[in-house]
């Protein structure tokens, strides 16, 4: 089974992120990049499926030069090979353009399963997996917290919903996106880190992939950031003084906020 797992390098989750006032896009230069956390779960799931089915895991990332670090990390966890879609023309691509580039590259190479994290911590749209599935004409099993892919041409997933989960099944090839409850991503070992150095990483430009530069990048984005402002400072919390009715007051507050 050939599994393509898509990973994205994002600004460190814990760092303070800023928008560049000139381009209204995220200032990626000023913060450390890390592998998008949910993508670690995607890599782990891909590795587990590959281990059980003697499959192969190819890690794919679209992003600037530094994204190689994220590809290397997935390779050090155990993925077999990497693909880096790298082109200045891709800068500022929105979800629509990103899905176009990823789909185009996967289309040319084939895959039995394409696995994504269900969202990235920087953009948080959760739409790229679905868009890629649509473009490839493949079934999509998104928001999965359990996946069974025995390598017999079928794939089954528990798909998280507001009320629990649905059990969904599809034939492969298929696209999956995973949520964090699905597994415990492994930490790379030093042996894995050393081995990652020798694994092949193919760099693909827009021209290599046969993608027109007018269809991607900031210029082609369907959405536009019109304005942005700093997040408001956190307001002081509400203090409930317990005069024997503390519990009721807290319950009232929670129901007012529609938490209960």
């Amino acid at each position: 089974m050939k599994i393509v797992v898509c990973v994205k390098q994002v600004p460190d989750t814990w760092s303070e992120k800023k928008l560049d006032p000139a381009t209204k896009t995220l200032d990626r230069a000023s913060v450390d990049g890390v592998m998008n956390e949910l993508d670690e779960y995607a890599v782990e799931e891909a590795l587990k499926i590959a281990e059980a089915t003697s499959g192969e895991v190819v890690v794919l990332s679209m992003g600037p030069e530094q994204s190689t670090e994220t590809i290397r990390k997935a390779l050090s966890m155990g993925a077999d090979a990497g693909i880096h879609i790298l082109d200045d023309g891709l800068a500022g691509s929105d979800a629509v353009a990103t899905s176009l580039a990823i789909a185009k590259v996967i289309e040319g190479r084939g895959a039995d399963l394409v696995i994504f994290g269900s969202e990235s911590t920087d953009a948080r749209m959760s739409v790229v997996p679905a868009m890629v599935a649509e473009r490839l004409g493949l079934p999509q099993l998104t928001f999965a917290n359990k996946v069974e892919a025995p390598g017999d041409g079928t794939v089954k997933a528990h798909r998280l919903t507001d009320y629990g989960y649905d059990v969904v099944e599809a034939s492969t090839p298929a696209v999956i996106s995973v949520v964090e409850k699905i597994n415990e991503p492994r930490y790379p070992s030093f042996k894995g880190i050393m081995a990652a150095k020798k694994k092949p990483v193919e760099t693909i430009s827009l021209a290599d992939a046969g993608i027109e530069s007018a269809s991607v990048g900031l210029g082609a984005a369907w959405s536009e950031v019109a304005e942005f402002a700093d997040a408001p400072a956190r307001a002081a919390g509400t203090i409930v003084t317990d005069e024997g009715d503390g519990g009721t007051k807290i319950a009232d507050y929670l129901s007012e906020q529609k938490f209960i």
Partner: protein
């Protein structure tokens, strides 16, 4: 002129940093408070290959080097010293003597279990009456046919009494030449009749690490369990301790850095007189000095490790690194506790743990006085 880490060492550093932050940090305080050995954490460290870092793949190792081990120890110690010393003692005291000096048979028999972290090794040098003066060893071993018969007591032995302790290599007097004791190292498998460990010590710090007194009463092991040459035990030990000092220096650097991490965070969050305490120059200067010491600590162990790995003399640099970093760790722990005020005296705050964990660094694997003696001797100053 370069003390930076290679890309691979940096990737390892990041992996251990994430493990320490995400997995160790949230639970270690409870193990510490209960004085319990954290088996689940040790087994995850084993899965990551940390116990095999400086050993070749033929013995189940990761094919890394000593610097890789030190990088991992530093990152663990930024969050907790107990697990860092468990790794340090298992690798540099437990497995390394066998790897460096053991026969091919001993290596084949023991190293794969030690490098995989399935088993922990311990080293017993110190005795109730012989610490800095390790030559004052009273434990004896005599050959009886093809067996050693060992008698004696070892004090403060790390990793000697866990459920996964596999062996303790002990130093023992095996004879006398021209009025001088002949000291050798002998491997004693856990569970050998006559070998027992006392109740765990009640320690001031390192509460989630395993330390016992070890007693050996007519313990019999095969003659082939001699590690290295007969009569070379003492010299071999000293060479193991030289490199071990670099690992302890990395551990001390981690503690010193952990103190900075915690203090920076706290200085932002804690308010007094209507503003964060970090706005006070007095607090800022304390933290700036802490960062300076952590930084210099890191440079000192990396420089000593670089020398060692290039095959250059490094005895003096290792002693300096151990001495400087352990004093830096102690200074930083004192300052971090000060920055935290009363909360710094509570063991559920990392700063409180760091304060208790720092002191042993100026004592174990050669006291600060011993390091100064080594440096002075290396400078050719006259002996007593």
């Amino acid at each position: 002129m370069d003390l930076r880490l290679s890309d691979e060492h940096e990737a390892l550093r990041k992996a251990v940093e994430a493990f320490a932050h995400d997995v160790v940090g949230p639970v270690i305080g409870d193990y510490y408070a209960r004085g319990e050995f954290p088996y689940p954490l040790v087994s995850q460290m084993a899965e990551m290959g940390l116990f095999g870092l400086p050993f070749p793949e033929e013995y189940g190792g990761m094919g890394g080097d000593y610097a890789a081990l030190c990088v991992a120890i530093e990152e663990l110690a930024r969050v907790d010293s107990s697990i860092a010393i468990t790794l340090e003692a298992a690798v540099s005291l437990g497995a390394m003597p066998i790897y460096r000096f053991g026969s091919d048979e001993l290596k084949a028999q023991w190293l794969p279990k030690l490098t995989s972290g399935q088993m922990l090794g311990a080293f017993g040098l110190t005795e109730p009456g012989a610490g800095s003066d390790a030559g004052g060893t009273r434990t004896t071993a005599r050959l009886d046919g093809d067996e050693w018969v060992i008698n004696g007591t070892k004090a403060f032995i790390t990793n000697s009494g866990t459920d996964i302790t596999g062996l303790i290599t002990v130093t023992a007097v095996t004879g006398e030449h021209d009025g001088r004791k002949e000291i050798s190292s002998i491997l004693v498998p856990a569970g050998t009749a006559g070998l027992s460990v006392s109740e765990p010590y009640k320690k001031v710090g390192w509460d989630a690490s395993d330390t016992h007194e070890v007693s050996l009463v007519d313990v019999r092991v095969p003659a082939a369990n001699l590690v290295g040459q007969r009569g070379r035990g003492y010299a071999q030990f000293l060479s193991i301790l030289d490199e071990g000092r670099i690992a302890i220096a990395a551990l001390a650097t981690g503690l010193a850095q952990g103190c900075v991490d915690e203090s920076v965070r706290y200085a932002h969050d804690r308010e007094a007189f209507g503003r964060p305490i970090g706005t006070n120059q007095a607090v800022q200067f304390m933290i700036a000095d802490m960062q300076m010491r952590a930084h210099l600590s890191r440079l000192s162990w990396r420089e000593a490790a670089g020398r060692m790995q290039r095959g250059e003399p490094f005895k003096q640099q290792a002693a300096i690194a151990k001495l400087y970093t352990s004093e830096a760790a102690m200074d930083n722990a004192r300052a971090a506790t000060q920055v935290h005020g009363g909360y710094g005296f509570m063991i559920e705050f990392p700063a409180g743990r760091f304060y208790r964990d720092a002191k042993i660094l100026e004592i174990g694997e050669g006291t600060s006085e011993v390091q100064r003696m080594l440096i002075a001797r290396d400078l050719g100053l006259p002996g007593a």
